[in-house]
């Protein structure tokens, strides 16, 4: 009996195509998505056009230059001074090369009593009305900045000051896209491997009459099935380990919760999807048929259950349905355990219950459809 289980593991790890689907395919997703940086904040690209000419009073020429220099220090904005005229800058805005044009005109309003008997430079801002969010951020930043410069110029007393006290980054949990993606990839990978891999194996064994050959021996068919399932569970433990290691060491993905719970969920999910594999294998004549049918079953879940993006961002009507797909509770529980250090198997109880219901349903269907011959 031990020989049977050892042989099952040997076969699992010598099957090159199977290993590709188990490791290379999900790893490709991790690498591709890891190379995109979804976490870098969008910086507004601003073109500053300083039109103040040198023949103006010195304080204005200098003032305008200082304004540009200090504005560059803000850091949040990406500043370019490549555009020398308003027309050039506006053209760049129209071509979406920049989002903002800030013009320092070569004119100033004469001194007035409202302005403490000082002349005033009227900065002009041109933007694209469609970029509402960027515009409001930039305008808020700009007006703060202008106000600050004004106050300094006027030597006004400061009643309030702001002192930023940043917490050390190690103390603050910043969930990156990679942290979010990794549990998604784990769920997707174990689903596709369990369903497509097992269905392909079963249909191959049937097509090549290996199941029949087993039937001609005194071995109980249920033991042979158990050895197959065992081989897959071992492969899935290795798969989860390799994918977590890849995400962590290559792209800094973190598992915040108890990693043992991640393994427990992965094994539970594997049992569910191995049941599905038996069903798909029952209806497939050969491995390529199994692979097609397996893809038809797994592909929609891969997208609808939130592998790459939260399923909750789907339209509410769609989400209200897809949250009950077999992969959905697994994804949700995996993510909760992975991202929340306080999450326990108890706190994902409702998801576990839904997974349990699916295991029961799929087992009953598999037991009715799968014929060992």
């Amino acid at each position: 009996m031990i020989k049977l289980f050892v042989a099952a593991i040997k076969m699992q790890f010598r099957d090159r195509l199977g290993l590709f689907w188990a490791f290379v395919f999900p790893a490709m997703f991790i690498i591709i998505f890891g190379l995109f940086n979804f976490d870098r904040p969008d910086t507004a690209h601003i073109a500053i056009v300083n039109l103040v000419q040198d023949n103006n009073p010195k304080e204005f020429v200098e003032g305008a230059k200082r304004f540009v220099e200090s504005f560059k220090q803000v850091g949040y904005f990406k500043i370019s001074e490549d555009y020398k005229t308003e027309a050039e800058a506006v053209q760049a805005l129209k071509n979406d090369k920049i989002e903002f044009v800030l013009i320092i005109p070569n004119e100033f309003t004469p001194p007035s009593s409202a302005n403490g008997n000082l002349p005033q430079i009227r900065l002009r801002v041109i933007d694209d009305e469609k970029n509402k969010i960027t515009n409001s951020i930039v305008m808020a930043g700009l007006s703060n900045y202008v106000a600050e410069v004004n106050l300094r110029a006027a030597n006004a007393p400061k009643l309030f000051s702001l002192n930023e006290e940043p917490l050390k980054s190690s103390e603050v949990k910043k969930i990156s896209y990679m942290d979010f993606l990794l549990p998604g990839i784990l769920g997707m990978a174990l689903m596709t491997m369990s369903v497509i891999g097992l269905a392909a194996d079963l249909s191959l064994y049937r097509e090549q009459r290996i199941l029949k050959r087993i039937l001609a021996t005194p071995l109980r068919p249920s033991l042979f099935i158990a050895s197959l399932v065992f081989g897959y569970l071992v492969l899935i433990i290795v798969q989860v380990t390799i994918l977590i290691a890849l995400g962590h060491y290559l792209f800094g993905a973190q598992i915040y919760g108890n990693i043992l719970n991640v393994y427990a969920l992965a094994l539970l999910g594997a049992i569910l999807f191995l049941n599905v594999g038996f069903i798909v294998g029952s209806f497939s004549k050969n491995p390529s048929g199994a692979s097609s049918l397996g893809n038809i079953v797994t592909m929609p879940m891969m997208f609808l259950s939130g592998t790459f993006f939260p399923a909750t961002s789907l339209p509410p009507v769609v989400y209200s349905v897809v949250q009950f797909l077999p992969l959905s509770p697994l994804m949700k529980a995996l993510r909760e355990i992975a991202l929340d250090s306080n999450a326990t198997l108890l706190s994902v109880g409702p998801d576990l219950a839904l997974i349990g219901v699916w295991i029961l349903i799929t087992f009953l269907i598999a037991a009715r459809t799968f014929k060992f011959r």
């Binding site: 009996m1 049977l4 029949k212 001609a216």
Partner: protein, 316 residues
Amino acid sequence: MSCTITYIVSIIQVQNLTKKFGDLTAVNNISFEVRQGEIFGMLGPNGAGKTTTLEIIEGIQEPTSGKTSVLGLNSQEQLNEVKEHIGVQLQASAYFDNLTLTEILDLFGSFYKKRTEPAKLLESVGLTEKKNALVKNLSGGQKQRFSISASLVNDPGIVFLDEPTTGLDPQARRHLWEYIRQISQQGKTIVLTTHYMEEAQRLCDRVAIIDVGKIVALDTPAKLISNLKSSYRINLKLLERVHADKFKQVQGVIEAREPAETEEPQIQLHVNKATETLPSLLSLIEREKIKLEDIEMQPANLEDVFLALTGKELRD
């Protein structure tokens, strides 16, 4: 001359076996026995019901009605006991792609109480050098030999071989017969199916001729042939088509026919005594100015037996 007394022991019994798949009756109420130590052949065209009969005896399929027993054990009721004592080679069955020959034999051996060393099994079919190879890297003949060795993992008393030489070239086929004879010499009973007349005739002690689910004859190949009315077949290759009826008047000709499958004009004569028939045949040819390309004479074989019993040719 030595005198041996042979006790005939029946080791497999098949009684009134019938198997239906929907409207199709694959096996139609057949009964026979296999004796200990013999090579028993089931000869018939594809779809005759040979494999179904075999698989019911092996316990892989259930009969619609009737009973089969092996070593006195009922194949349906004492299934696991039966499986311990038989070796099975399935028609066109493969083995795991990712295990070596030794690993497969070791694995299959572990399913039985009694087992034989993989090295010994591989040696017995001349595959010692391939012990660490994968099945997919074997030639057709090697695959069949391996498949036979895998049926011997439990050192069974009875070995079932379903079409063991199908798909092999004639040389590989004869080669495999030698291995099958060696297994028989170890005292094992062998039941095999084939649709090759020559295989049944040269390899088997007794042959059951099967057609559309029924046994139409069962005896030693020699007896089956000697029971034929004609003991020789004369093949005439002609340059132009001549009606077969013309030859029926020749003295000693029992049957004259045009074989169905040939393109060139040909006549097949079934005769009893060639020496009596040949002179009158040649004088007919001369008299009628029949343009003869070739004349060929051979003793009757199981092909002729099948033809005589079913009116059909054995070849597909």
